[in-house]
Amino acid sequence: MTGQLSPPARVLITKIGLDGHDRGSRIVAAFLRDAGMEVIYTPPWQSIPAVVKLAMEEDVDVIGVSSLATDHLIVPKLMAALREAGFGHIGLVVGGIVPEDERPALIESGVSAIFGPGSARDHIIDHVATLAAEVRAVKDAALREIAQ
């Protein structure tokens, strides 16, 4: 397991679209917490503007979108909205059921990884932690850049 960020990585776990099954996202939130991360947890049915506002206010490093049914179809819209608001550097992963033929579109829109139902806990934690560290590095660089 990778070492931990200080301050801890801040991860948003949320659901957009219409599906409301959140057993999976609650389990992921719990084990990210156990891995030393701060998890901002929202209930399902968040609108895209709400997620953008949340990501900004909470200064998150990574967003985890839990998607069943067809909610992944609007993830590219979320990615676009985040970029437009200046948060394109935030990492985003999708967890849940995404049919094979629809995964490329997500990756192209900037999704870092898609975790299917059988994904191992450690695999998810490692990826999120690594992603958070990368995002932090970018944020820190931006801070230094202002100085120049």
Partner: protein, 335 residues
């Protein structure tokens, strides 16, 4: 990749001015970044906070505490709606405990504030206590300052009522609201020592439940017995239905009116305690960990009974080396 270094290289003064300018102009993104900076600490944070201090004092800071299950977050959600209805802007610092085992946290208070999810007039930040034992976080006073400087009319600090959190909240807030739920038993077990001392407004939530009346009466009776707490308002609310919120607003406003001149005093009181705490940490560390031959000798003498504890302590104080006051320890983390 080595990830255990502290984050953020120090930003030189020019950057601090820049971000504070944006903050004061109302840029929410700058506010978010400043909060992160305050939580992280370090020289850059100090630089920003120094500049921010010149701009504080405008916001009304309201602290909410209450036991889990009292409906505190739902109440705050309704209170925010009332504030927004009268055109005021709000910032919320919702504090949740960090797990002492893992160093992580679930920050779920926002869950109950979804009404305001798209309202730019409501800024919500979830904060983990990060090992701070009081119920708030170590940096909360700086976070509040930054929200104040950002021009928010009302700043709300929310935390679960455990340990010393009511006292901490009372120190940073202009008005302390303690939220109670009607009790299932006959007595108010939930009313801990200290709450009556610091609460400005006592709320009995879930007023639609039959036992709420009794709880209200009990609270009023207890207050009557205290000479110095005659002004404390007891308000009944049913947050899920939205009833009693106007009364809550009125009660808070009333306290704010009487406190208008007191902001500086509260701030200095808090500073005093924080300085004492930081000094205490340094001494604790010096005596317990750093040691040194003279301290060791004192310890041996105290153990054998040659020196009393009080005397040993006095001598230790004069021996304690001056030096850097240490930052609080981070919680131990699972690797």
């Amino acid at each position: 990749m080595s990830l255990s270094e502290p984050a953020a290289a120090p930003a030189p003064p020019a950057a601090a001015d820049d971000i504070v300018d944006k903050l004061v102009a109302g840029d929410a993104s700058a506010l978010a970044k400043c909060i992160t900076l305050m939580e992280t600490g370090g020289p850059a944070a100090d630089a920003v906070h120094r500049r921010v201090c010149a701009r504080v004092g405008r916001a009304a800071v309201i602290g909410f505490t209450g036991a889990p299950g009292a409906g505190k977050s739902t109440l705050i959600d309704a209170y925010i709606a009332a504030l927004r209805a009268r055109g005021q802007s709000v910032a919320v610092a919702a504090v949740d405990p960090t797990s002492p085992l893992s160093g992580g946290a679930i920050l779920g208070d926002r869950v109950r504030m979804r009404r305001h999810a798209e309202d730019d007039g409501v800024f919500i930040r979830s904060i983990a206590s990060r090992g701070h034992l009081g119920g708030l976080s170590e940096s909360i006073h700086r976070v509040i300052d930054v929200m104040d400087a950002a021009g928010r009319d009302f700043v709300i600090a929310e935390t679960v009522g455990t340990g010393q959190s009511e006292i901490e909240v009372a120190e940073i807030a202009d008005v302390s609201v303690v939220v109670n739920a009607p009790n299932m038993g006959d007595d108010i077990q939930a009313l801990k020592a200290g709450v009556l001392e610091i609460a400005d407004v006592l709320v009995v939530n879930k007023a639609d439940l039959p036992l709420s009346r009794r709880t209200t009466e009990q609270l009023k009776t207890m207050l009557k017995l205290r000479q110095d707490r005659q002004d404390v308002a007891v308000v009944e609310t049913a947050a899920t239905k939205g009833t009693g919120i106007d009364a809550l607003c009125a009660a808070v406003d009333a306290v704010l009116a009487t406190r208008a001149g007191d902001k500086r005093k509260n701030r200095e009181q808090r500073m005093r305690r924080l300085i004492a705490q930081a000094a205490g940490r340094a001494i604790d560390d010096a005596i317990r960990r750093a040691g040194g031959a003279e301290i060791e000798a004192l310890v041996r003498k105290a153990a054998s009974g040659e020196l009393g504890i009080a005397e040993a302590a006095e001598r230790a104080l004069s021996l304690t080396p001056t030096g850097t006051v240490l930052e609080p320890k981070r919680p131990a983390r699972k690797m």
